[in-house]
């Protein structure tokens, strides 16, 4: 709710991540308000004018120490809840890979994103691939795998509406997944500094309904791009 008020949640796991965030938020808000409250109360109560002579408390005795021991155990218990929630969501988003036959390739380079869409046949590296710079088109409610590459330095594929973020590392292929749940057009940012063009390395994601997506594919009969593949041997 808190995050969604600012950024729409457009992937299947966005709400789970928001849930962890909010869980932490409420725990933390409780502890924060409690300790700041006591803190300011003490400052007001034990001002010199109210209490001219201070007490002598070593804090080493058991009945005194309990005032920090109990809260500290309570903090530990809160931590357990947070760990469980965080690890569960982490497992779903990053460790688990639900199967699918749709894959998009994300190639990052200084300072542009190149998205290779599988085209009508649903397979990458075939003649009907649609290659687009700075535009990613996906169909709503379909599970996608992404294949993340980098051509030069570290980049980070970040789609705020998906709550998705993953570094791209040159020399490695990183796989992940997402399922868009809302149609619309949203920002993609690069979230890892990648040189002087880092701030200008934005892209857009277009989440389309089935019909829209099909008509987009039809419109982008990948002529220009494939001429290139054919003439590559001229190099």
């Amino acid at each position: 709710m808190l995050i969604e008020a600012l950024v729409p949640a457009a992937s299947s796991y966005a709400k789970d991540i928001d849930f962890v965030w909010e869980l932490v938020f409420w725990f933390v808000a409780f502890w924060f308000i409690l300790s700041e409250g006591i803190f300011f109360y003490f400052i007001m109560k034990f001002r010199k004018k109210n209490s001219p002579k201070a007490e002598y408390i070593s804090g080493e005795e058991k009945h005194q120490k309990k005032w920090i021991t109990y809260p500290h155990i309570a903090v530990l218990i809160c931590d357990v809840f947070i760990v469980v929630a965080a690890v569960k969501v982490w497992y779903d988003v990053k460790q688990d890979m639900p199967p699918t036959d749709r894959t998009v390739r994300v190639m990052s380079s200084q300072w542009a994103w190149t998205f290779t869409h599988p085209g009508p046949d649903g397979k990458l590296d075939t003649a009907d691939d649609i290659i687009k710079n700075d535009e990613l088109h996906v169909e709503v409610d379909q599970l996608y795998h992404y294949e993340l590459h980098s051509r030069d330095v570290l980049h980070d594929f970040s789609v705020p509406v998906f709550r998705l973020k993953q570094d791209a590392i040159p020399g490695r292929t990183i796989m992940g997944w997402f399922t868009p749940t809302l149609t619309g057009e949203f920002d993609i940012q690069c979230a890892e500094i990648c040189g002087i063009g880092h701030g200008l390395m934005g892209a857009r994601i277009f989440i389309e309904s089935k019909e829209q997506h099909e008509s987009w594919m039809a419109k982008n009969n990948p002529r220009g791009e494939n001429l290139l593949l054919a003439s590559n041997e001229g190099r």
Partner: protein
């Protein structure tokens, strides 16, 4: 007792120091402390000026920034990079560890100087050299390094990516030199604290601030090695053409991240601990209370130090490491919240039953707790791996660590500086100006960074010099928030002039400060004000712990450590 100052006085006679030897090539720990303090503050001004330049760019993109000029993307990157590097390595470290460590350790332990005074001087000069080296990078072709203070390769390793062929190497060399300076200083601190305590001073009689600085030095020594090795490797990659971090030739860019954060996370505690120590001393003095559970504090600090070596990979959750590792590091990271929370509870408990007077140092120390709590609790969001997927590298992270580093480096420094100013310079500071400066710094500080939390939650990422290319971030509302933060920064910077005016005014004043103006217990207040070369008229003997305030057996509410029972 054999150790009287007479041995020292005779020693002093045959070198009556000239100006240069007294103020420049001094081996006196107090002078070196001041040198570190002023160098650190000067670097702080440079770092603040950088913040001013890039915050202006964020608020008014493309504007010609007054006193600076145009902030191009390349300049923006080098500004944020060097702002981060300077504020952590050339401000927080020298001021908190080196300046306060040098000034306080010999005085609080009741000895005449560090065990290795010349090593101490060497440490400062290497540090100064490193600062100069860093600043030269702004004047070389290609400009200063712009690959963020974390300097992740391959961007930092190859000139064709970073486009700063010289700047990035100069940056690495400067950081390496700086580490060597602090290694030398740290060895000095630790040995002094272990071997040169005043007679009668047991381990539990050492003031917390000294403990904290010593533990911080040990943490630093134990963590910086891998990064020094990494810096050497990075430099070779840049200049010789090796391939430690180049994936195309069999290297591994992630390796650097491990080396960096293995140091980088303990580094947070390296600067945090001295600030916590300063706060402890100030709070005890001005609430006239014994520190709550001294031994627990100490044990907790040790535990924090050890734990801090096990959490580094939480900086790399989404960096392409094995996702299973994230689970382990989530657990350790959340575990470290426990000792830190406990320290906060201890400080709050210390206030209980006190007799609090809100002097300027006390205001700073209390605000340290109040604001550091925000920094601490927001860290939980980032330590929880599930939530970090979204928050990683957003302005939320940025606001979070400014809420830890600002209390540490700025609030902690001002708390210590205003508290020990009488001892350092022999004059009292103006309380009224001090309070104006305090409120003028603390309110704008919150006004800068609270909005940035909001921007971070709204999905705004770091190190982007202009958000107008991102339709969702370029809304007028978000731009208004950026402008608000920038204006707050300007207000905060303006109020710093009050501080400098206060310093100069107090320093010029003819009224001398008493030896023990705050009626505190620790040994530095026993020494004459300001302490001469050799510190004490007669080297003190210690009879009790440092925080015996308001003892029931005594009429006065303080009991200096050196006073026989």
């Amino acid at each position: 007792m054999a150790e009287t100052i007479s041995t020292h006085a005779s020693h002093d006679e045959h070198h009556d120091p000239s100006f240069i030897w007294k103020y420049v090539f001094s081996t006196d720990h107090k002078m070196i402390a001041k040198q570190y303090m002023f160098t650190g503050m000067a670097m702080g001004l440079i770092g603040a000026f950088m913040a001013y330049a890039f915050r202006m760019q964020l608020a008014f993109p493309g504007m010609d920034v007054p006193l600076f000029g145009l902030v191009t993307p390349a300049v923006y990157n080098s500004l944020v990079t060097n702002h981060g590097t300077i504020m952590i390595f050339w401000v927080a470290m020298p001021v908190l560890i080196a300046a306060f460590g040098n000034f306080l350790i010999p005085l609080m332990l009741g000895c005449d100087d560090m065990v290795f005074p010349r090593l101490n001087m060497l440490s400062y000069w290497i540090f100064l050299l490193s600062a100069v080296v860093l600043l030269t990078s702004f004047f070389v072709p290609g400009g200063a390094f712009g690959g963020a203070w974390t300097a992740y390769p391959p961007l930092s390793a190859k000139a064709e990516y970073s486009l700063t062929p010289l700047g990035s190497s100069i940056w690495v060399v400067a950081v390496g030199l700086e580490f060597i300076a602090f290694l030398l200083g740290g060895i000095n601190f630790v040995t002094t604290a272990m071997n040169s305590r005043a007679p009668g001073m047991r381990l539990y009689d050492i003031p917390i601030v000294v403990w904290m600085i010593v533990i911080a030095s040990i943490l630093f020594m134990a963590s910086v090695g891998p990064l020094l090795a990494g810096a050497a490797m990075l430099f070779m990659d840049q200049q010789v053409g090796t391939a430690f971090f180049d994936p195309n030739k069999g290297g591994d860019p992630i390796l650097w991240q491990h080396l960096f954060w293995f140091f980088g996370h303990p580094e947070v505690y390296v600067v945090l601990l001295p600030a916590l120590g300063i706060t402890a001393d100030v709070i005890c003095t001005f609430s006239r209370k014994k520190l709550f559970a001294y031994r627990t504090v100490l044990m907790t600090t040790f535990a924090t130090g050890v734990l801090s070596f096990t959490v580094w990979a939480h900086h790399q959750f989404v960096a392409g490491i094995d996702p299973r590792m994230a689970n382990i590091f989530t657990i350790t990271t959340l575990l470290i919240s426990v000792p830190i929370a406990e320290l906060c509870f201890v400080y709050i408990a210390t206030l209980y039953g006190g007799s609090i007077s809100l002097t300027t140092p006390m205001l700073w120390a209390l605000s340290f707790i109040a604001t550091f709590l925000i920094g601490g609790v927001t860290g939980i969001f980032l330590g929880a791996s599930g939530a970090d997927i979204y928050m990683h590298d957003t302005y939320f992270v940025l606001a979070h660590f400014h809420y830890t580093f600002y209390p540490i480096a700025i609030i902690g420094t001002f708390a210590g500086f205003t508290y020990w100013f009488p001892k350092m310079f022999g004059k009292m500071m103006d309380e009224r100006l001090g309070k104006i400066h305090f409120w003028g710094s603390i309110i704008p500080f919150n006004a800068i960074f609270i909005p940035l939390f909001y921007l971070g939650v709204a999905g705004q990422h770091r190190r982007i010099f202009d958000f107008s290319n991102y339709p969702e971030l370029a809304t007028p509302e978000m731009q208004a928030i950026r402008i608000f933060a920038t204006v707050s920064l300007l207000v905060m910077l303006a109020f710093q002039f009050v501080f400098f005016y206060n310093c100069i005014k107090s320093w010029m004043s003819t009224e001398k400060a008493p030896d023990n103006p705050w009626k505190a217990n620790t040994l530095e207040w026993v020494a004459p004000t300001p302490p001469p070369h050799g510190n004490f008229k007669e080297l003190p003997t210690v009879y009790r712990g440092p925080y015996e305030f308001s003892h029931p057996d005594r009429d006065e509410d303080y009991w200096p450590q050196n006073e026989p029972a």
